[in-house]
Symmetry: none
Subunit: 101 residues, 2 copies
Amino acid sequence: TQQLLSEPTQETPRAQPYRVSTADRSVRKGVTAHSLEDLLHKVRDILMLADKPFFLVLEEDGTTVETEDYFRALAGDTVFMVLQKGQKWQPPSEQRSRYQP
Amino acid sequence: TQQLLSEPTQETPRAQPYRVSTADRSVRKGVTAHSLEDLLHKVRDILMLADKPFFLVLEEDGTTVETEDYFRALAGDTVFMVLQKGQKWQPPSEQRSRYQP
């Protein structure tokens, strides 16, 4: 995608689309965000986390995303997973099998 | 992605995203780095290794990454594993089986 780079405000990059999943992969929502901070705010609203602590990992392999630098280096449409206290990333295959008797 | 190569500062290539795992694969974090030296510094902070000696290997097969040349030749999003004294690379399959009774 081509982008004009003439805008004077480098601090607020164009919002990119991302996807956010719950830890059990039962809910997945689309959201746009300018920054990791922005995404964390929106995720709190969208998944109604109120003031519960949480963090974001990559849905594909559980990599923790903690810094704006790393966030900016990720592609748009990256799928994040929200992990709350006590929740752990699990590969999709193992998770699916838990629901099968 | 096309990049302009006209910039005079060859010493600081654009930071690339990488992933860093602990030896037991229980922690995996995203980090950006300009060089192997930069990555080693950031890993020390991120994984709170203080002044303990460690080195980096490729998570997929335990290949030791020692030189800037080799580091630069790796793709962004490469997954590294941190090995401290006494730690050995193990394939994911063997490791996972240790957690199952």
